[in-house]
């Protein structure tokens, strides 16, 4: 089962990437992320005139020889972040020919590895109904990753999911890293409160919408009676014509556009992923071009 989630070749490539975390105002010391404040890392940031009380070891004597003034060297501060990954574990993610569930798990595993490589803490949660369940909690370091990541294989996709109801009451941290929500977002608005909440907590929010190819471009035609996998009381009965198919495509555009705009308005990132596409494409094309990683 591990092999279905972890692609070793992909993970080796991911090691070279780095996340560009916004709002990194907090976090533990000793991480790998540059902070907006000056700290004690090795990376030079700026000069300022020496004031009494400053660490004399930071005085730049070369500058003194040139300007006959004392200047203290300033260095960037580096923090450890806490990446929180939320996986929509509802039935809609696991039903049908599409491999949305597998794709969601792969994306989660890849993001977790990327964070681990950056010396960040990683927690992975599943959202089922209105409950948030921690699959991996506070994972730090590659060894821990190797030991813990297999837990993703045991994730079951069933029931309904209410993302906002599950995330908002939970502990999400403050300004200490990235919150990644992986879902098909096939709902009207139950994700909006979650995004608002995470953005309010100065988290860097990334919404990854996973849809199958059949959902993006359905081939079904003729008289169809569709039942909803999460609620059989919901159904759609129609003679699927060219006209309806065109309307469906507009509906897809509308739904994805709506969430994209919502994220953009709140400084969150958004990515639409086809369940049948390779995860490498997500990391090396989509996320890079969106500026989420480099």
């Amino acid at each position: 089962m591990v092999k279905t989630v972890i692609d070793e070749e992909l993970l080796q490539q991911i090691e070279l990437l780095q996340t560009l975390i916004k709002n990194n105002v907090a976090g533990m010391f000793g991480g790998n992320h540059k902070s907006k404040t000056y700290g004690s890392s090795c990376e030079f940031a700026d000069y300022r005139e020496y004031t009494p009380g400053d660490d004399i070891t930071k005085i730049d004597w070369n500058a003194y020889a040139r300007f006959e003034k004392l200047y203290t060297k300033l260095f960037l501060d580096e923090r450890q972040m806490h990446t929180r990954i939320y996986i929509d574990a509802s039935n809609s993610m696991g039903y049908g020919k599409g491999k949305k569930d597998e794709q969601a798990l792969k994306i989660a595993a890849a993001f977790a590895y990327l964070s681990v490589c950056e010396m960040d803490k990683v927690s992975v949660y599943t959202v089922r109904d209105k409950q948030l369940e921690a699959v991996i909690s506070g994972m730090l370091g590659k060894e821990a990753y190797i030991n813990a990541i297999g837990a993703l294989n045991s994730v079951e996709f069933s029931g309904d999911s209410y993302i906002s109801d599950a995330i908002v009451p939970s502990t999400v941290g403050y300004g200490d890293g990235m919150s990644i929500i992986i879902s098909d977002f096939l709902t009207d608005n139950n994700y909006e409160a979650a995004i608002d909440h995470l953005a309010g907590k100065k988290r860097h929010v990334l919404c990854v919408q996973v849809l199958s190819r059949e959902e993006l471009n359905p081939k079904a035609r003729g008289k169809m009676h569709f039942f909803d996998s999460e609620d059989t009381g919901r159904y759609y009965r129609k003679n699927i014509t060219r006209e309806i198919a065109q309307a469906y495509k507009k509906a897809v555009e509308y739904a994805t556009g709506r969430i994209r705009e919502y994220c953009a308005a709140r400084g969150a990132d958004y990515l639409l992923v086809c369940a049948e596409d390779p995860v490498s494409k997500l990391f090396f094309e989509n996320l890079t071009s969106e500026g989420v990683i480099k």
């Binding site: 949305k100 959902e215 035609r221 003729g222 159904y235 060219r242 309806i244």
Partner: protein
């Protein structure tokens, strides 16, 4: 409304089958999908609902049901009754010779047919049609048929004749129809006008035309040996200047011509000359074209121009006889003595036995007996004694006015008597024509023998008579040669509608008549003369088969004089009685509209199907 084939309605049973198929086909495919959210959301982006697309399935079913209904109805073939919409029509179509006049590119007869065809085509279904044509005979071509196609076919098969039409019988037939059905509408389609016409509508198809004609054309041999042709020329359309030309033996160049100024309806005589007397035919023709060319030409034939007759004279002393026959023109003669004659000598048209009698009658030719010495079986007479006369006695010419006698004695003179010293008494037991007699005994008589061949008996010795030297003897000999070798056809001026007499030659086994249109007919040869009615204008060829030989004669049949007048007003055409206004029930059985509607339905269904397929792509 009635149904011709009610079983066709069984096709309606297909409707429940269609509905069943529709229900089965309409079943929705059930499928569980991850979420119906996007599908439900798509409703918001649907354009305004197209009622047609919403009803696509049901429209297709409705159209197919309608198609089944129309097919079933078409198979059942409904016939609708239209009360009082039809008529009975009776057409009397003039098929006389003048209807062959060409005007506006077609003949009057064709114009009449076109008119009738128009009436038939436009008549309501259920109408009946009767067609009476006049021509050679009066025929009821159609008798109250209500089948338009059959009526039009019958009409198309009619042709104009070349004779004068007698409407008496046509009126009688029409009167019968009228008596049976006074509501019948009568149309008289002709090129003649009528001063009085009752219970019929006159359709005059005549237009003003030009017509010239030659008539009463004859020829005679002139004193210088050539032929002189005389006749009359007429113009029936109006005054005209024409040229009449004479052609010999189908020659392309005229041997003589004359220009004539004609006044309408007034005949003008003409005379044309030909230097030859050995012609086969003379053709008199008007040079100018007109609308009725049938009467612009007359052809006359010289019947004996190419006739050759072979004769065998069996005699020990043939001098007188041979001299007499030698002057008879184209008679080939062979002479043999009686002791050398035998029954194997065949192939002659005439066998002349002088002072002798064969043991057996020749069967393949005519026979002359001159002074027979005994009787012979089949000769039709018996020989008795020789009656010796005291001195010479004049033979008496038969004074009967019977045509057969008159023809054989034509040209003889009463005062020129033939004298004999003796004669042979004969007992006649067949029907002979006595031409000369002595003391009440038949001395010269003619008839036919038991084999159907012509036979002439001279019951006296030529050497003891002045017969061969007398004028009457030469004339009678000539007449008897003509009698022995009759021409096939008598007479020269023949008109369409006339009956010509065709002489059945001795040993004739068949007579064929070839008409101008190329048809062949065979005449009855059991009698000496066969009658044949001319029904076409042009050259008839009559061919008689005699033994291994064939003898032909030609007769040119002219258009009757009455039919040459292209504008005629007759006295009356009256169908007696009080007409009724009661109409016949019409019917409507045309399935064309049903098929058009069916086609529209099929096309509409096809379009709906195409729309569906387009929508499901």
């Amino acid at each position: 409304m009635t149904l011709l084939h009610p079983l066709g309605l069984l096709g309606l049973l297909a409707i429940p089958v269609l509905v069943l198929i529709y229900i089965i086909k309409s079943k929705y495919t059930e499928q569980v999908i991850s979420s119906t959210y996007l599908w439900t959301l798509s409703e918001r982006f649907l354009k305004r609902k197209n009622p047609v697309s919403r009803l696509t399935g049901i429209i297709s079913l409705i159209l197919q049901i309608l198609a089944v209904i129309f097919i079933s109805i078409a198979l059942a073939h409904p016939v609708f009754t239209l009360p009082g919409k039809a008529n009975d029509y009776c057409f009397i179509l003039d098929g006389s010779g003048s209807m062959n006049v060409v005007q506006s590119g077609k003949t009057r007869f064709e114009s009449g047919k076109d008119y009738i065809s128009g009436v038939i085509s436009s008549a309501a279904d259920g109408s009946t049609f009767t067609l009476i044509t006049t021509g050679n005979t009066t025929d009821v071509v159609l008798r109250q048929t209500d089948d338009k196609k059959a009526a039009l076919r019958g009409l198309a098969g009619t042709e104009a004749a070349f004779v004068s039409s007698d409407f008496t019988q046509a009126i009688a037939v029409a009167q019968n129809f009228f008596d049976e059905n006074p509501a019948c509408k009568f149309y008289l389609v002709t090129d003649k006008n009528y001063e009085i016409i009752e219970n019929a509508e006159l359709i005059n198809v005549a237009e003003s035309v030009s017509n010239y004609a030659v008539s009463d054309v004859n020829y005679a041999f002139g004193a210088n040996g050539g032929a002189v042709v005389t006749g009359k020329a007429f113009s029936y359309g109006g005054d005209a200047s024409i040229t009449v030309r004479l052609f010999v033996d189908d020659g392309a160049a005229a041997v003589d011509s004359v220009s004539l100024e004609l006044v309408r309806y007034e005949g003008k005589e003409f005379k044309l000359e030909c230097e030859r007397d050995d012609f086969a035919s003379l053709r008199v023709e008007i040079a100018q074209d007109d609308d009725l060319p049938l009467d612009n030409k007359v052809v006359m034939y010289n019947a004996r121009s190419d006739a050759q007759y072979k004769s065998l004279i069996i005699s020990e002393t043939p001098f007188f006889l041979n001299s007499a026959l030698a002057s008879m023109g184209n008679l080939q003669r062979e002479i043999v003595s009686p002791d050398k004659y035998n029954e194997d000598m065949k192939g002659y048209g005439l066998y002349v036995f002088e002072n002798c009698t064969p043991e057996k009658m020749p069967q393949d030719g005519a026979v002359w007996f001159i002074n027979p010495d005994k009787g012979v079986d089949g000769a039709g007479f018996s020989r008795r004694d020789t009656e010796a006369l005291s001195g010479t006695v004049e033979l008496e010419l038969n004074s009967s006015t019977a045509s057969r006698v008159r023809n054989l004695l034509k040209g003889t003179v009463k005062g020129d008597a033939t004298s004999v010293k003796e004669y042979v008494k004969c007992g006649l037991y067949r029907s002979f024509i006595t031409l000369m007699s002595c003391n009440g005994d038949s001395v010269v008589f003619a008839g036919s023998n038991a084999y159907g061949n012509r036979e002439v008996v001279f019951a006296f010795d030529m050497h003891k008579s002045d017969f061969a030297l007398s004028y009457n003897g030469r004339v009678l000999m000539h007449n008897l040669i003509d009698y022995t070798f009759p021409v096939l056809v008598d007479g020269e001026n023949a008109y369409c509608g006339d009956a010509i007499s065709v002489n059945v030659l001795a040993n004739c086994t068949g007579i064929r008549v070839e008409t101008p249109s190329g048809k062949s007919e065979y005449l009855d040869t059991s009698d000496a003369v066969s009658e044949y009615e001319l029904t076409e204008v042009g050259e008839y060829v009559i061919t008689a088969t005699v033994g291994n030989n064939r003898q032909s004669a030609k007769v040119y049949s002219q258009l009757p004089v009455a039919e040459r007048i292209t504008s005629v007003t007759e006295a009356s055409f009256i169908i007696s009685g009080v007409p009724s206004t009661q109409k016949r029930d019409g019917r409507y059985e045309d399935l064309l509209y049903a098929f058009i509607i069916l086609a529209v339905i099929v096309v509409a269904d096809w379009m709906v199907y195409c729309y569906e397929q387009y929508q499901l792509r």
